[in-house]
């Protein structure tokens, strides 16, 4: 049976891992390749590198980060942030990434998902969806809207509809972030996850709101997520990947325990 994945996410700015609140007050947290290697040793099932560099000079720097990370962390590598064309995706894959994640670029130009899936296969195309709860009128179903540009810009897209459309266009995986929960440590939005996971057949990665191991369990059990992503709780060493996997295993979820693999 396929293991449920635990994925640390590294925000990268100008080649360094940073942390901050809503892209502000960024502090240097170290070298991406070094951190990724450490997480791989600690049992990360995959690494996500998210390029949050605002400027245009990013490309060369980020490709070098991808190359160095793929050279040291021998687990699947997903890279997101600022990839806007088939050619750019090709360069990122050649640098050692296994998948590329599209967010704002996919909303702006949906056929990009198809073009990349045709060229590299759906397994390499991830559509990242940032979603925010809409006010609910009495008796109506909860809905979420898609937001772009790191949560700064609203769209008129319904998140569940956009998810099904992204899959139809060629996305092989969805990375679903709740903007309401992101950075709040109040748990994943399991209603949002379940609403999307019940409508698509591709894996859903839960993101936004992890406070502790119990949240990873509910994201999979109630949110029907195949994988769970978090940043700050790992970076700040509040919990280790092993802590999270122990809680998932105790709840009966299949996970890969790294210490049991090699003697």
């Amino acid at each position: 049976m396929l293991a449920r994945r635990v994925i640390p996410c590294l925000d990268v700015d100008k080649g360094r891992v940073v942390k901050g609140t809503k892209f502000l007050n960024l502090t240097d947290e170290g070298d991406p390749a070094e951190l990724a290697e450490r997480y791989a040793h600690e049992g990360a099932d995959e690494i996500v590198l998210l390029d949050i560099t605002a400027a245009h000079e990013r490309r060369g720097t980020m490709l070098e980060v991808v190359r160095r990370t793929a050279s040291r962390a021998f687990v699947p590598l997903t890279v997101g942030g600022g990839v806007r064309s088939v050619e750019e995706m090709r360069d990122v894959l050649r640098a050692g990434a296994d998948k590329v994640s599209f967010n704002t670029a996919a909303v702006a130009e949906p056929p990009l998902l198809t073009a990349c899936a045709v060229r590299f296969g759906s397994q390499a195309v991830v559509c990242a969806i940032d979603a925010r709860r809409l006010p609910r009128a009495d008796g109506s179903e909860q809905r979420w809207e898609v937001v772009t540009h790191g949560g700064r810009r609203a769209t008129d897209l319904d998140a569940v509809e956009w998810a099904t459309r992204a899959v139809a266009l060629g996305a092989g995986e969805l990375l679903v972030t709740s903007m309401d929960r992101d950075g709040t440590r109040s748990g994943f939005d399991t209603e949002l996850l379940a609403a999307i996971a019940s409508r698509v057949r591709v894996p859903v990665i839960a993101s936004g709101g992890a406070a502790g191991p119990a949240d990873f369990v509910t994201a999979v059990r109630d949110g029907k997520a195949d994988a769970v992503l978090a940043a700050s709780i790992f970076h700040r060493r509040m919990f280790s990947i092993a802590d999270v996997k122990a809680a998932m295993a105790a709840a009966g979820l299949p996970v890969r325990h790294i210490e049991e693999q090699v003697t």
């Binding site: 396929l2 040793h41 793929a70 693999q261 090699v262």
Partner: protein
Amino acid sequence: MSVAIRVAVLDYGAANMVSITKALAAVGADVVVAAEPSAMANVDAIVVPGVGAAGSAMDHLRERGLLEPIRDWIRNGLPCLGICLGFQILFASSDEGGGVETLGVLEGRTVALQDAPTLPHIGWNSVEAARPHPLFDGVVDGSYFYFVHSFAPEPADEGVVVARTTHGRTFASAVAKGSLFGLQFHPEKSSEAGLRVLSNFVGLVAARAAEAA
């Protein structure tokens, strides 16, 4: 080993070369990237990586003049490791893309994964030993490895199967026949367990080289 084992990773434009070359280097191999047959000279082993479709992989190998050199290499009993698509094309044919003739150094045919709950089969899945084999020395039976594929070979000779994995149906996830090895999973993306398998492969090549010397 006193002298590093030299491994040529075949580059035919169909694989992520960074991970496999760095992973082999991490387990002590001296790695060269071989985009043409001449680069296969003076190496101890070859690795055939690959993602993508069987038909275009065969076309690319043919264009680069690598097809016959690979066949000759394997028929001469020299060490070879096929990974993912590079494993599938070791067999006689593949059903992918309406059917394509492949290398044919192992008997059998690559077929679509039927009854799979999800396709492609992508993620970490457990690999169960069919028989003890030095390729998996130090790896606990049932360990998880990383898979990305929609097709899998059906070896005609069950005797070559070293390990199996289940996703819908059960398929051969590792085979060995003499110095020829094939893995459906990606050892270069499978963390410690994957590096151990690559290290075992390099060790087997070294033992063979020492025997020949």
